[in-house]
């Protein structure tokens, strides 16, 4: 989704820069504060709502999740309609305020006007994309932005090249693009994988859900607000203190960060999608494993992009339509210096997304505020006076590095003070408090039995009593054999792997089994055997487990079986069966 959105933004900038010129690209950069404020409610409600919904789905509380979903949609529509009503009165004053020159004001006014009028469509699209993602339809979330961007970019070319619409055409193509993307609500409504539904609730109940949603979405909202304030201050300084020529160079740099976002944003998006669910399941091992992979990939990608920018800066300038030969050397230096921020930008983006997803908003908010305001603005001011536009570009990498260091230090201090009880930067329970066993098998009966043996061996090696160990082995065999027999019969299922994870935490054994077979909910399973043998494998698990839960997420069956270590089989059930 993020990749699709950023790809559109990058290409949009390239088209506008090349067809209308670098002054039009600068005008779009100057309009960013307005656009961020307009999209702010959609992002707060979309990100916050989806984090809460994802957490509820992780706990299997689908009705509560649906209520949050409904309240977010309704609130988003109402707020965007209020924005819409202000368009005729606010567009001209805003354009005048933001533009430093009459030429830029004339480019800004139509762009702002059309964007304000079209904000209800964009708000809905943004919110739905987040909810598609957490509600088993990530493909629709990505598709929405792909459709929106294809329509947007096609119309961009058509309207800018073949009509005199200019900046009206640029803004109109964006709005029409997102409106077309909304057509995906139809397949979502018909999707069998969908768990959320529109639970109509009273306005009062709607309002009751909002504080938690806003709280969870605040770091993201703060991000967009900070971006708005940051853009407002930086653009105003550059355009008014350094002039339109330097503003054009600066807009190439600010647009180039979208390329980094394009690469790392999609990877970091995995944190938001998967981490919330893993957090709800208390799968801390899964979180650690995911984070390690995401960070590694982000560092590799961001380093690669930095290298490209350092080696081919002229190519980047030309890509965004920058062709001022007199100032090209200065532009090249600016692009090179600015590109040094990408790795640290990715790391800050990760910290914000991660802390927000695990519902620890304070470090996420601190990172956002430091990155976009408290670090960047003062450093930019100082370097602007010292080195001009090159100093402005150098301020970004310096503030990104300082932000990472300060947030890590803040987290450590909070932990020492006991305000953040969990250990490490990931704020998870100590590794030593838990033990893990991770097995991935192919969906065959032989491998299912092997996994059962392996887990029993793991349990006995880790001091778990043989009775509990056998019950874990039994649960693995019953579920995995069932999956291998019935889960992969469908022709469309190509991959057939089963992930099995056993963790020991807080006096409980938690067995998580994930498979990509056909949907199967063991909690709803009823044995068809009528005669004396009434209890099949799944029923045996139901009898032995302290808790058995199931959810279908990301096209995978997720079965979680909990056993109390010291009281593995509910004795009352055994006694009742003996009496019968």
């Amino acid at each position: 989704m993020v990749v699709a959105m950023q790809l559109g933004n990058v290409v949009d900038g390239i088209i506008v820069g090349n067809i209308l010129g670098s002054s039009a690209l600068a005008a779009i950069s100057l309009s960013i504060p307005v656009l961020y404020v307009l999209q702010l409610p959609a992002f707060i409600l979309g990100v916050g709502g989806s984090a809460i919904v994802s957490n509820y789905l992780g706990k299997r509380e689908v009705e509560k999740a649906s209520k949050v979903f409904f309240s977010c949609l309704v609130s988003g529509i109402l707020i965007s309609l209020i924005f819409c009503a202000t368009a005729p009165f606010l567009s001209r004053p805003l354009a005048h305020l933001l533009a430093g020159t009459p030429e830029l004001e004339e480019l800004l006014y139509p762009y702002i006007l059309v964007n304000i009028l079209g904000i209800p469509f964009l708000t809905l699209a943004i919110q739905f994309s987040y909810f598609f993602n957490v509600d088993n339809n990530p493909v629709l979330g990505s598709m929405m932005f792909i459709i929106a961007n294809i329509v947007n970019l096609t119309l961009d070319v058509l309207l800018l090249k073949f009509t005199p619409m200019g900046m009206y055409g640029t803004a109109l193509s964006t709005i029409i693009g997102y409106t077309c993307g909304l057509i995906l609500i139809v397949p979502y409504a018909l999707s069998k994988k969908r768990m959320l539904s529109l639970k109509f609730i009273s306005p009062a109940e709607c309002l009751r859900h909002l504080p938690d949603t806003i709280k969870a979405g605040t770091p993201s909202g703060m991000f967009y607000l900070m971006m708005a304030i940051k853009s407002l201050i930086l653009n105003t300084c550059v355009v008014r203190l350094l002039g339109q020529a330097d503003m054009e160079i600066f807009s190439v740099c600010t647009n180039s960060v979208l390329i980094a976002e394009l690469f790392v944003g999609g990877v970091i998006g995995l944190i938001q999608t998967i981490c919330g669910i893993l957090c709800g399941e208390r799968d801390y091992y899964g979180i650690r494993r995911l984070v390690k992979r995401v960070i590694t990939l982000c560092v590799i990608l961001a380093s690669f992009i930095t290298l490209v920018f350092l080696v081919f800066p002229q190519l980047i300038a030309g890509l965004f339509g920058y062709s001022n030969t007199e100032l090209m050397d200065k532009a090249i230096t600016c692009i090179r210096v600015f590109s040094l921020c990408f790795v640290f930008y990715a790391f800050n983006k990760f910290l914000q997304t991660y802390y927000q997803t695990i519902l620890k908003p304070s470090p996420a908010t601190l990172d956002t505020v430091l990155q976009n305001l408290l670090m960047l603005i003062p450093i930019t001011f100082v370097l602007l006076y010292m080195c001009g536009i090159v100093g402005v570009c150098a301020a970004t990498p310096i503030s990104e590095i300082l932000t990472v260091l300060i947030v890590c230090t803040f987290t450590k201090i909070q932990q020492k003070r006991g305000k953040l009880p969990q250990k490490g930067l990931l704020l998870l329970p100590d590794k030593n408090d838990e033990s893990y066993c991770d097995v991935t098998i192919k969906g065959t009966e032989q491998e299912a039995v092997n996994a059962s043996e392996k887990l029993i061996e793991y349990c006995t090696d880790n001091g778990i009593d043989i009775k509990s160990a056998n019950l874990i082995g039994l649960a693995v065999e019953e579920i995995a054999v069932n999956i291998s027999r019935f889960g992969y019969n469908h022709k469309k299922i190509k991959r057939n792997y089963i992930d099995i994870n056993l963790s020991k935490s807080e006096g409980k054994l938690i067995l998580r089994i994930r498979d990509d077979g056909v949907p199967f909910d063991p909690t709803q399973y009823k044995s068809e055997e009528k005669e004396l043998f009434k209890l099949g494998g799944i029923n045996l698990i139901k009898q032995t487990a302290t808790k058995l839960s199931y959810i279908r997420v990301l096209n995978m069956n997720n079965t979680v079986i909990e056993l109390d270590i010291n009281n593995t089989v509910p004795n009352a059930q055994v006694e009742a069966l003996q009496k019968n």
């Binding site: 009966e445 032989q446 299912a448 039995v449 059962s452 043996e453 029993i456 043989i466 009775k467 056998n470 082995g473 039994l474 065999e477 019953e478 054999v481 004396l532 043998f533 009434k534 209890l535 099949g536 494998g537 045996l540 009898q543 032995t544 089989v569 059930q573 055994v574 069966l577 003996q578 019968n580």
Partner: protein, 99 residues
């Protein structure tokens, strides 16, 4: 799983150890099917059996049904863990279990 068989006066004793699971229970069922016609009674000694799954339970039920026309099928000396699974299935009143 290892299977050992002894026969005395048309009473066959089968001794198994290890695991009676999805992969091993067909072997036991096959052995019992082979021995049933020439035996009046089958005793399954499970004292060395460490683990049983629903597939193993099915093998026991199959044997019970097969021998019900004759002198029967007895499960001998299950350990605590195996007994617990048998209890959970509600088969303690159906199967002949001796200590």
């Amino acid at each position: 799983m290892n299977i050992k068989t002894t026969k005395e006066n048309n009473v066959t004793t089968i001794t198994i150890d290890g695991r009676l699971d999805t992969m091993t229970s067909p072997e036991l069922t096959e052995e019992i099917n082979k021995l049933a016609p020439e035996s009046n009674k089958i005793i399954l000694d499970v004292s060395q059996l460490e683990y049983i799954s629903s597939a193993g339970i099915r093998a026991l039920v199959t044997a019970h049904k097969l021998m019900s026309e004759k002198d029967g099928f007895t499960v001998k000396a299950p350990n605590e863990n195996v007994m617990e699974i048998i209890k959970l299935t509600g088969l303690t009143s159906v199967l002949d279990i001796v200590k």
